[in-house]
C-alpha cells in the first residue's frame, strides 16, 4: 500500500512543481550538449559553459550534459574544467541544436595545479551555500599525513569541519556528531569510512574523481543525517585508451587502471590499494617481541563499469570492498565495508532525464579468540543496507530546473552474534536482537531564476521511517530500568516516524563581484551511532530509532556574503549559521554499549545548538593558490539527565579555528605546499578531588563540570615538496616524487590528558599523551 502512496505522491509532486514553475518563455532555442576530454573522450561532469554576451552560464550535470536556452544569434562561449585549458567556442543559434565540445588537458603531469574547479565566478552564482567541492587534483596538492593522500584529511581543513581527534578520519561538521555525516561513495552510504582504527579513510585517491561536502543546505534529494553530506564520486573510465596510475608510499601501495573495453561505449576502472604493514613488522621485530606473530593488513578494491547503451541510455556499475585485519596467535579481528550500486541513466528528451539506482552497502566486523579450548568464540556484527532511488531532472526552461524523486532503504542492523568455537567452549550462542527498518524519502525541488539577479531554490522532502519485525523492544521506566519487552513478528511494522523536511534558499547577485545567499533547512536522522568514543572505533554500534529513541531533527539557517576580487583571483566568503538540534543523543555515565540487549536504556536525550561564523579567502594565481579560513563557533548540549542538567560544551566545540593552505609552483618540476592549522583546545573535564580505593587513585568530579575547561590549543604545520617528471614527448610515463613532513615543528599536541600519580612520590599531576611528533614520508607516483 505504501508503495502506491509513494508513487502517487511522486507523480503529484512532479506535476505540481512543473505546473507552478512553467512560465512564459521568450523566443529561445534549446542548445543541448556535452563536454568531453579531447584525448580520452571521457564525459566531464561539472564542466562550465559561460556565455560571454550574457555573463552567465551553466555546468554539465551528473549525466555529462548541459542545456542552454538562447535566442537567435551568434554567441561566444568559454568551456572550462579543472585541469583543462579554457576553450573558446563560437556558436550561431538558428534553431534547436545539439553540440559537443572537446577540451584539452593542461599538461600530462600527474598533478594539475589549477585549484579552481569551476568558472571563476561560479561561487557567486552557485545556487547552493555551505558547500565545498574539491577535485582530487586539488587534494593531491595538500601535504598528506604520512604521505597518504586522503580526501577526509583534506576536508578537515575546511572552515566548519573539525577532525574528531588528531589523525583520525572521523569528522564533525558545524559542531555535529560524527554519525550525523552521510558519507556516500557513488550513492552508497558508508558507516565507517576508515582504515586502521580510523587513521586513514577508505578512499583510494587513484580511484576518486571528486567530492562535495554540504555543511548545511543539504540537497533535498538526500536525507537521513542532520549535519552534512559528503558525496564522493569514483572516476569513470576513459573511452580512448587504457591508462594507469599508482604509487608506493610510506603507508600503502596502490594502482588504478581504466580504459575502453568495447570501443568507446564501455569503459572500466579498476583500482586497488594495500597497506605496507609487513615492512614495518619486519623492521620492528628486531626491536621488540610485541609484534611477533602479528599479521596486519588492509586493502581496498574499486571497480566501475560504464556502458553507453545509446544516446539516451547509460548504465553504470560501481563496486567497493575494503577490509582491515589484525591477526595474532590467539585473537583475530577484522572490519570493512562493501558498497555496490547499479545506475541506469535515461534521457527522455533534451529536457528530461532520470536516473534509477539500486544500492547495496555493508559494514561488518568480526572478532575471534581462543586462548584455550574452553574460551573459544567468534563474534560477528554487521549492518546491511539494501535500497534504490529514482531521481528525475526536468529542465523546464532557462529559468526553472525541477528535480523530484524518491528513495527507499531497508536497513538491517545486526549488532552481534557470538558463537562458540569447538565443543569444549563454555560459551553458548548469544545474539543481540537485530534491528530492521525501512527508510523512505520523497522529494521535489525547483531552482528558479526569478530575475537576472535573484534566484530562488525551494524544495521539500517527506521522510518515513518504519521499524519492521522481527524484533524485540524493551520498555523502560523513568529510571531507564527495563520493565518488560515486546517481541514482534516478521513483517510487523511496529513503529513509524515521519516528517517534512523543507529546504529553502535565496541567492541575490548584488553586482558582478558579489552576492548574498540565505538558506534554511530541516533534516531528520533516524539511525544513530552508539559510541563512547569521540574519535570513533570500528566497534561503534548503530541503532535505529524506535519507541525509546526518537529521531534527531536539525533546523539550520545560514546567511552568506560572497565577493570576488582582482579578476576573480580572490574569492572571499563569510557565512553565518545557527543550528538547533532536537533529540540529541548522549549517554549515561559509564554506559555499556557492547553486548547490551537493553542498550536503549543507556541513551540520554536532549537538545543541542551550534552557531558560528566562517570566513574564507581563496586565492588562485598562476603559480600560487590555496586559501585562508577562520571560524568562530560555539556548540552546546542541554541533556537534562547528563551533567546534572547543566548545559555543557559539545565534545567538538572548538571556538577558534584557522586554516591556511598554500601551494606554490616553483617551476615545471618542483612545487611546494604547506598547511597550518590552529584550533582551540578540546573541551575536557577536570577533577575536584581524589581518593584511593582498592589500591588505586580515583578522581572525583563535581556535578555540572563536564567539558568545562579546555586542553591546550592545537596547532600544526605540514609541508610538502613534489618533484615532477612529466612524460617525455612521445612517451606515456609520467612520474613524481613527493616528500611530506607532518607536524614540521614537532609540537606535542595533546591527544588526551589524564591525572596520574607518581608511584614513587605519590604526587598527582596532569599527564598529556601526544600521538605524533614530526613524521616525514616519501611517496613515488607514476602515471601512464
Amino acid at each position: 500500500m505504501i508503495y502506491k502512496k509513494i508513487y502517487l505522491l511522486v507523480f503529484l509532486l512532479g506535476v505540481v512543481l512543473i505546473s507552478q514553475a512553467r512560465s512564459e518563455k521568450n523566443e529561445t532555442y534549446e542548445i543541448r550538449g556535452r563536454v568531453y576530454d579531447k584525448d580520452t573522450k571521457e564525459m566531464l561532469i561539472g564542466a562550465t559553459i559561460y556565455i560571454e554576451e550574457f555573463r552567465t552560464g551553466t555546468a554539465t550535470d551528473g549525466y555529462g550534459s548541459f542545456l542552454l536556452h538562447l535566442p537567435r544569434g551568434k554567441f561566444h562561449l568559454q568551456i572550462s574544467y579543472i585541469g583543462y585549458k579554457t576553450q573558446k567556442e563560437v556558436i550561431e543559434v538558428i534553431g534547436k541544436q545539439d553540440v559537443a565540445f572537446y577540451i584539452e588537458r593542461e599538461s600530462q603531469k600527474i598533478q594539475d595545479v589549477t585549484i579552481t574547479a569551476e568558472r571563476s565566478d561560479e561561487n557567486l552564482k552557485r545556487t547552493e551555500m555551505s558547500v565545498e567541492k574539491m577535485k582530487i587534483q586539488q587534494i593531491r596538492q595538500i601535504p598528506a599525513f604520512m604521505g597518504e593522500v586522503d580526501i577526509i584529511k583534506a576536508i578537515q581543513l575546511l572552515p566548519g569541519v573539525q577532525p574528531a581527534a588528531e589523525g583520525t578520519s572521523g569528522f564533525s561538521v558545524r559542531g555535529g556528531n560524527m554519525d550525523q555525516n552521510l558519507i556516500l561513495i557513488d550513492e552508497v552510504p558508508l558507516y565507517n569510512a576508515s582504515h586502521f582504527m580510523g587513521f586513514f579513510s577508505v578512499f583510494n585517491n587513484d580511484a576518486i574523481k571528486e567530492l562535495e561536502l554540504y555543511k548545511g543546505d543539504i540537497p533535498v534529494a538526500y536525507g537521513g543525517r542532520i549535519s552534512s553530506l559528503l558525496n564522493v564520486k569514483v572516476k569513470e573510465g576513459n573511452g580512448t585508451r587504457w591508462q594507469g596510475s599508482g604509487g608506493i608510499g610510506t603507508i600503502s601501495t596502490r594502482f588504478a587502471m581504466d580504459g575502453p573495453i568495447n570501443g568507446d561505449t564501455t569503459t572500466l576502472l579498476l583500482a586497488g590499494r594495500i597497506f605496507n604493514a609487513q615492512l614495518y613488522l619486519l623492521a620492528m621485530q628486531t626491536q621488540t617481541d610485541q609484534v611477533n606473530g602479528v599479521n596486519l593488513f588492509f586493502y581496498d578494491i574499486n571497480a566501475k563499469l560504464n556502458h553507453r547503451i545509446d544516446k539516451q541510455n547509460t548504465l553504470s556499475i560501481n563496486f567497493y570492498n575494503g577490509w582491515d585485519a589484525f591477526n595474532q596467535s590467539v585473537a583475530k579481528f577484522g572490519y570493512g565495508n562493501t558498497a555496490g550500486s547499479v545506475s541506469w541513466m535515461h534521457s527522455y528528451s533534451s529536457d528530461v532525464a532520470t536516473k534509477f539506482t539500486l544500492l547495496y552497502g555493508r559494514y561488518g566486523y568480526r572478532t575471534s579468540a581462543s586462548f584455550n579450548d574452553a574460551s573459544g568464540f567468534v563474534w560477528n556484527s554487521n549492518i546491511n543496507d539494501y535500497g534504490f532511488r529514482l531521481d528525475n531532472t526536468v529542465l523546464l526552461d532557462s529559468e526553472n530546473t525541477i528535480k523530484f524523486g524518491f528513495s527507499s532503504t531497508y536497513h538491517r542492523f545486526y549488532p552481534g552474534l557470538i558463537e562458540p568455537i569447538g565443543s569444549e567452549s563454555i560459551f553458548s550462542e548469544y545474539e543481540l536482537f537485530p534491528n530492521l527498518a525501512v527508510e523512505w524519502g520523497i522529494y521535489g525541488s525547483n531552482v528558479q531564476q526569478v530575475s537576472e539577479r535573484l534566484t530562488l531554490k525551494y524544495g521539500i522532502r517527506f521522510s518515513i521511517f518504519q521499524n519492521v519485525g522481527p524484533g524485540t523492544v524493551y520498555n523502560f521506566d523513568t529510571n531507564h530500568e527495563a520493565t518488560d519487552s515486546v517481541t514482534y513478528s516478521r513483517g510487523d511494522v511496529y513503529n513509524v516516524y515521519q516528517g517534512l523536511e523543507p529546504r529553502i534558499g535565496v541567492i541575490y547577485q548584488l553586482n558582478e563581484a558579489s552576492s548574498v545567499k540565505a538558506s534554511y533547512s530541516r533534516t531528520r536522522q533516524y539511525i544513530h551511532m552508539a559510541s563512547n568514543s569521540s574519535g570513533g572505533t570500528p566497534f561503534d554500534i548503530w541503532v535505529a530509532s524506535n519507541q525509546n529513541i526518537k529521531p534527531q531533527i536539525a533546523d539550520q539557517a545560514a546567511l552568506g556574503y560572497f565577493r570576488n576580487f582582482w579578476f576573480n583571483q580572490f574569492e572571499g566568503s563569510v557565512e553565518l549559521y545557527y543550528k538547533e538540534m532536537h533529540n540529541t543523543i548522549d549517554f549515561k555515565d559509564h554506559a555499556e554499549l557492547f553486548l547490551n540487549r537493553k542498550i536503549d536504556g543507556e541513551f540520554r536525550i536532549g537538545d543541542s545548538w551550534a552557531a558560528g561564523a566562517e570566513f574564507q579567502l581563496k586565492y588562485n594565481f598562476e603559480r600560487l593558490n590555496g586559501w585562508v579560513s577562520y571560524t568562530l563557533s560555539k556548540s552546546r548540549r542541554d541533556i537534562p539527565e547528563v551533567n546534572a542538567g547543566v548545559v555543557y560544551n559539545s565534545p567538538y566545540d572548538k571556538p577558534n579555528n584557522v586554516g591556511i593552505v598554500a601551494n606554490y609552483k616553483l617551476n615545471d618540476k618542483w612545487s611546494l605546499s604547506g598547511i597550518w592549522v590552529f584550533a582551540s583546545g578540546t573541551p575536557m573535564t577536570v577533577p575536584a578531588g581524589f581518593y584511593v580505593q582498592d589500591n588505586v587513585l580515583q578522581l572525583y568530579y563535581k556535578d555540572g563540570d563536564r567539558n568545562k575547561v579546555r586542553m591546550p590549543d592545537y596547532h600544526r604545520l605540514d609541508l610538502g615538496l613534489t618533484y615532477s617528471m612529466p612524460a617525455k614527448p612521445g612517451k606515456r610515463w609520467a612520474q613524481e616524487l613527493n616528500f611530506s613532513l607532518y607536524n614540521a615543528y614537532g609540537r606535542h599536541n595533546a591527544w588526551s590528558i589524564n591525572f596520574v600519580r607518581d608511584e614513587e612520590t605519590n604526587r598527582i599531576y596532569a599527564e598529556k599523551t601526544y600521538l605524533f611528533s614530526f613524521i616525514p614520508a616519501i611517496t613515488y607516483n607514476i602515471k601512464f
Partner: protein, 294 residues
C-alpha cells in the same frame, strides 16, 4: 596483558593491542607532564563497606575526598555505622588505632539470600551542623560450588593461568575472580580484578576456562613447584559489578578513542555519596604446582 573469558574485555584487549602495534610501528605516542589546574576542591564522603559469607570482623571504611593542594588523608571519625538484616542489627565500631575504620562488634558471616541494609549517621560533611545520613542495601548471592581448579603455564606469555571447573547456576550471576599464592592475595588491586557476567555462558559448565593470570614478572606471582595456587570466585551483585567496571574505566583513563567522558565511579549509596556496599559470597579452590619447567 590478560586474555580472560569476558568477551567484551577480550575485544577491548584486541583493540588495545592493535592500537599499540600501530603506534609502535609508527614509533609515536608519548606522554609528558603538563600544567593543568584541577577544579576547585569539593569535599564528599567515600564509603567502602564489605560484607561476605566468611565469618570474620566485617569492615566499613569511611573517608573524604582529598584536595590536590593538601593531599593528607582525611578519615571520617566518630560516625555511627550499623548493618541490619531483618530484626538483626550489627553495630560497627571505630578502632582507636585505625581512625575511619569501623569493624563489626562481633565476627559474623553474611548469609546468601539475605538482604543487608547499611546505615551511616553522625557525619557532617559540610560542617553545617546537620547530620548527613547515608544508606545502602544489597542482597547476598549464593555461593558458587567449584569442582576443581587447575593451572596452565604459558611460556610465550611468561604467565600462569588459573582455570575453573564449575557449573554456572541458572540465575543471572556476576563474578569477580581473585588469585592467591600460598595464602597471599596477589590480585588485590582494582586493575587486577576480573569481572564478568554470565550472559554468554549462563547455566553452562565452565570447563576449565581461564579466570585469572599470574605473571612471572611480578614478584608475588612468580610461581615455583610446591606453591599452592588458589582461585577465589566472588559471586557479586550488579551494583558491585558496575562499581568495578566503572572504577576500572576511570583508572584506565580517557582518550578520544576509548572510554567516553570521565565521571564519578558508580555507587550504590544514597545521598550522593561515593563508594560501594559490597555484599558477596566467597568460594575458593586450590591446586599445587608440580613439575613446572620454564
Amino acid at each position: 596483558m590478560k586474555w580472560l573469558f569476558n568477551i567484551f574485555r577480550i575485544q577491548q584487549q584486541v583493540i588495545f593491542r592493535m592500537m599499540a602495534v600501530f603506534l609502535l610501528l609508527l614509533m609515536i605516542s608519548c606522554t609528558e607532564e603538563m600544567e593543568l589546574e584541577p577544579a576547585a576542591y569539593v569535599k564528599n564522603i567515600i564509603i567502602d563497606a564489605t560484607l561476605t559469607n566468611e565469618n570474620q570482623y566485617q569492615l566499613v571504611r569511611l573517608f573524604y575526598t582529598q584536595s590536590f593542594t593538601d593531599d593528607s588523608s582525611k578519615m571520617v571519625e566518630a560516625a555511627m555505622v550499623t548493618v541490619t538484616s531483618g530484626d538483626s542489627v550489627v553495630r560497627f565500631i571505630e578502632r582507636d588505632t585505625f581512625p575511619g575504620y569501623y569493624f563489626s562488634e562481633i565476627p559474623f558471616a553474611g548469609e546468601p539470600g539475605k538482604t543487608y541494609h547499611l546505615l551511616i549517621t553522625n557525619v557532617d560533611i559540610n560542617v553545617d551542623g546537620e547530620w548527613d545520613v547515608f544508606e545502602a542495601s544489597a542482597t547476598m548471592a549464593s555461593a558458587l560450588e567449584m569442582d576443581s581448579v587447575t593451572y596452565t603455564y604459558i611460556p610465550q606469555w611468561k604467565a600462569t593461568s588459573l582455570n575453573c571447573y564449575a557449573w554456572d547456576p541458572q540465575e543471572r550471576n556476576y563474578y569477580n575472580f581473585i588469585a592467591w599464592v600460598n595464602g597471599v592475595m596477589v590480585t588485590d588491586s582494582l586493575f587486577e580484578y576480573n569481572v564478568t557476567n554470565d550472559d554468554q555462558f549462563n547455566g553452562n559448565y565452565t570447563n576449565g576456562v581461564t579466570c585469572q593470570f599470574l605473571q612471572d614478572e611480578k614478584e608475588y606471582e612468580h610461581i615455583e613447584n610446591g606453591d599452592t595456587l588458589t582461585l577465589e570466585i566472588d559471586n557479586i551483585d550488579l551494583a558491585y559489578f558496575n562499581y568495578i567496571n566503572s572504577a576500572q574505566k576511570e583508572y584506565n583513563g580517557y582518550n578520544p578513542m576509548f572510554g567516553g567522558l570521565p565521571a564519578n565511579v558508580s555507587s550504590n549509596i544514597s545521598n550522593n555519596a561515593i563508594g560501594i556496599f559490597r555484599v558477596y559470597t566467597v568460594s575458593k579452590k586450590s591446586c599445587v604446582v608440580k613439575g613446572l619447567v620454564r
